[in-house]
Symmetry: C3
Subunit: 440 residues, 3 copies
């Protein structure tokens, strides 16, 4: 236990830079909800943590959905009548409408334009768009480049394939002492976009790396899945195991410079919500806590009424709330090593609370025990004590009544969870507390 | 259903002017809690809606009260020693203390003064006062006129009668699909006073007019009664039917220029309270919500502990909170057609919610259904959709779990009720929802 | 009942001065958790109220604690090499570390310094420190005097004894109609310190003096005990009677010039909490309400999980929140007669609520009774009534439904408790209310 607690502090400043480096390595790959990009991504992740890679065939029925055909792409461009590439997939993979069907055709500007997408409000940025479930082709480009296109004949080429294949995802299960699981998920389907969501992929990888060496109470399941269809597929294939999942977090948008934002679970008052709120308030950092809403990321599926999993999401600036979202500006400059580090620290702190929270029973229910003669209280009344917080000791003793967990006590007292835990550890050592049997 | 929903929008701008015209027609009549003024008022109302007129004999015991003698008045004045009328009922019927007994007598100014009532703080206004249950006579006049009265002998004349007769009230019952009733009441006992409460009489008349053409779920009961004794009398005579009343509103002070104010039900958290709060917040208009208090209007009787009816009151400026209240300044200038219109619209919107609110069950409890292939979701991921709100669709799907009604979902999401309803209608049409059987 | 109600107003302005005088008389005595100082203090109190004085032998086991040896002291000083007393117990009894063991010894300044305590931040003030459970000696002095001490040999003399003896406390029990008890405690262990806590001793004495002449519903128990060990000892010796205690207050820091502060009970929403909050809000005075915390005074023991007594504490500036706390500056200038008076008035008002609060049943559950014909309502409708509040009458009638007590009604209506009580008394007199049998 003591060993494990120490381990929770291992996230050194170096992890931030390592996460950033992983993002940098994954950034150029053209990912989608299926295809070789996902496989390559998972392969790189598997060099850090031993994820198991699953392949689910196209056509598999998953609740109301069907696993789509597999999409792959080699090249794509639009050439003007001079043969100059005016749009080039090789320069940015988000130039192609993700899941575009193959095209090789000449056409006038007018026809081409009905397949072009831009962001007039941000004329330098390329938007990121997809058409997974309707067969379509298109190109995304900056509004600035779009305005330069002149009348004439254009050659359009998309060297993609859309065929029976597989949906690919990665999974890591770290068994703990209990079968109760904590589910940690990210999505791997976005191509060259950093905050949404290579930041999530990197954080989850390093979080798994930190936890795998620990002796854990809960079991932990890490999912690297395509968004929406991946969550739906996983839930369908693993429905029997869902009841083991006690709570979870969707990891996304954790690398930008904004304050931390916690999107609560659908129920709103779970152990997870309390733990995250405590971590954020203990940190003293500016932060926001927002209510659950059923748009967003995969909490939409995990928290659907048939599952009602207690899934929160700890982000920095939430998806859709920063202009760079789903554009070429969500790039390697937009995410920062130190912010990734800070986000990882918060995730570790949440897990620290989940792992160590428990109810204890004070062995002196009637009146306080005499702490002074046990050497854990100032003997000179009125003098301030060094070291352990005397207030924390008294809070733990008075509220270790079988009703309050350490987290409850920390929340009610306003004292940092770590200080409350420290006080409980000392009281345990001095045989003034016992662990409540009912708690696991 | 679709037909009915359309109907809820019929309250055109013309209704405001029509309500104002009705007020103008009723304004000159000298009303009281009994007598010919009430009968004439009800007769005029019955030209718009087919109310049934009830007569309850004087002396009828109604709980702790007794229906009083019927009061009628033809003329009243005070003449000075020159024979000049210094106070004249013909100029304003509130000059006479309402329910004054007959008087014909000469007296000195000093004696007269003990029967005169003024408002020193508003020297141009005549106060409105009553003495229903103690036999008394008196005159009300402006403080300005009062100060002009000189020593001398005055001739006092009140040509009133106070005899066995009846208490008169009007009632309209619109049967709906369910026996559950919504009670809508106003009081008809005030003479020439516009906001309190000819505005209520006019609104209730036109509200009934709007509802009578609709196919309704709830049954609706409209009462046009004298305040207090009328409510008590109605409750006594209709005690057996009271359990059918699920909720209700007392309509008063709905024509002035102030913001809307909702006085909550005694319980404070009923369906009605939620519906009114949603209508007000959806409107974006400035408004106030105040807690129940047992002084006020007929909610005092309907919410007495033996009945505890869930009665709210949606007003503009509440009784007693504007200086013109119960004075001659609550006149035809004080109420506005557009404010009457706005108040009526809010009442209709409340009833729209009550009529259409229901619990639904999503037919895809596990994960979202695929909206895209049903043509009700943007197929180009990341593009904004026109028309139906995608957020509303997701809210309805995720929270149609058997626990949340549309109103619950609208309240929790912060999305307008109409948009939530629209989303639910579309999902029903697409066979993605079913109505919960338990709800009515 | 009527008699008793009158009695609650007896706390005249003179009581403030009398409390101050008692503090002045008790101030010079050197008190501690045991010893002659406590006995002398209790003897002086017993001249005002007939407390019973208890002696509990040293060595008595009380839960996790043991009653300590009895400490007494006659004299103490530190002399410099000129024989001049540089620290003198006779000038202030807090110069001696409370519970110091006897010492008679010469030593160098360096050795002496390890036994000296000062407050560098408040260089004129002497700190108050204790060492009850570790045998130690020491002196407290102002930092200013401390800095004057020059190198040299000092003669240290403490003429104290620490021997088997007793712990002494005082108790007064005022039996009421019910066995249910209200516990009122103060601590008598501090030497020359006025606000903490001679103010509590004085208030409790005069509160007992006020209550002893009344016919009471609750029984009242007053404890004059040494802090911590006294509370623990009393709880151990009186464990069987503890279930009778329904609620209680720890009286401390009630004489300074700060606003009133109420520290809530551990449960936080008891009858006591509601009563104190109502008294404070009715008063219109600035005040603070703070949550329970398990450091503080004897509520720590009374509210330990094995007892969970509902103990609040109504203070002015709480212990530890004013710089004079536990220093020589908590002196006769720091407490004020008028503040003691104001605190006493608030305690009496709380007890007034506890004594008179009850649930009533309106005898007219269906609709209001007709108050006008009973002469307790304005007969001229619209005129303001003198005397009893008509709003209070309507609140009492509507909410005397078997669920709401007078305190509940007062809290919900925002009307002063006394006005609500007055209305209820009048309604009882008019046979419009009856007392609910279940209440006591």
């Amino acid at each position: 236990m003591a060993n494990k607690d120490k381990k929770f502090n291992i996230a050194s400043g170096a992890a931030g830079q390592k996460m950033y480096n992983l993002i940098k390595r994954l950034y150029p790959i053209c990912r989608s909800i299926t295809g070789e990009g996902a496989r390559e991504t998972l392969k790189i992740i598997s060099q850090k943590i031993s994820i198991k890679i699953h392949e689910v065939p196209s056509g598999t029925k998953v609740f109301d959905w069907t696993v789509p055909k597999e999409w792959n792409i080699k090249d794509a461009y639009v050439k003007n009548h001079n043969g100059k590439k005016v749009i080039d997939f090789k320069k940015s993979n988000i130039h192609v409408l993700n899941y575009s069907i193959p095209v090789k055709k000449k056409m006038k500007l007018k026809e081409l334009k009905s397949h072009l997408f831009t962001l007039p409000d941000y004329p330098d940025w390329i938007p990121y768009l997809t058409s997974y479930y309707k067969e379509e082709w298109g190109f995304c480009l900056s509004h600035k480049e779009f305005k330069k296109l002149k009348e004439g004949i254009y050659e359009v080429f998309i060297d993609s394939t859309l065929k029976k294949g597989n949906l690919t995802y990665g999974e890591l299960y770290l068994p703990g002492r209990k079968r109760d699981e904590i589910l940690l998920t990210c999505y791997i389907c976005h191509p060259s976009l950093c905050n949404d969501n290579l930041s999530g992929v990197a954080l989850l990888t390093f979080l798994a790396n930190s936890l795998k060496v620990l002796k854990l109470n809960y079991s932990y399941r890490f999912l690297f899945i395509p968004e929406t269809i991946g969550a739906i597929t996983w839930l369908k294939l693993n429905e029997a195991g869902v009841p083991n999942i006690k709570l979870g977090l969707v990891v996304t948008c954790v690398g930008d410079s904004g304050d931390l934002t916690y999107k609560k679970t659908r129920a709103g008052d779970t152990l997870l919500d309390k733990a995250v709120e405590k971590v954020l308030s203990d940190s003293g950092d500016q932060h926001k806590i927002i209510d659950f809403f059923p748009s967003g990321s995969d909490e939409r599926q995990f928290s659907s009424p048939g599952f009602k999993l207690k899934m929160g999401s700890l982000m920095r600036t939430p998806y859709g709330c920063y202009p760079e979202y789903h554009t070429s500006a969500d790039n390697l400059d937009f995410v920062k090593a130190e912010k990734l580090q800070d986000s990882l620290n918060k995730y570790l702190e949440i897990i620290y609370i989940l792992e160590t929270n428990a109810k204890f029973i004070s062995l002196n229910q009637k009146c306080e025990p005499q702490l002074g003669r046990r050497g854990i209280y100032s003997t000179i009344g009125g003098k301030k004590n060094q070291g352990i917080s005397q207030k924390a000791l008294l809070w733990v003793l008075n509220f270790s009544d079988g009703e309050h967990s350490l987290l409850d006590i920390a929340a009610r007292s306003g004292i940092n969870f770590r200080k409350i835990k420290e006080a409980a550890d000392l009281l345990l050592l001095k045989n003034l507390l016992k662990k409540e049997n009912k708690t696991d």
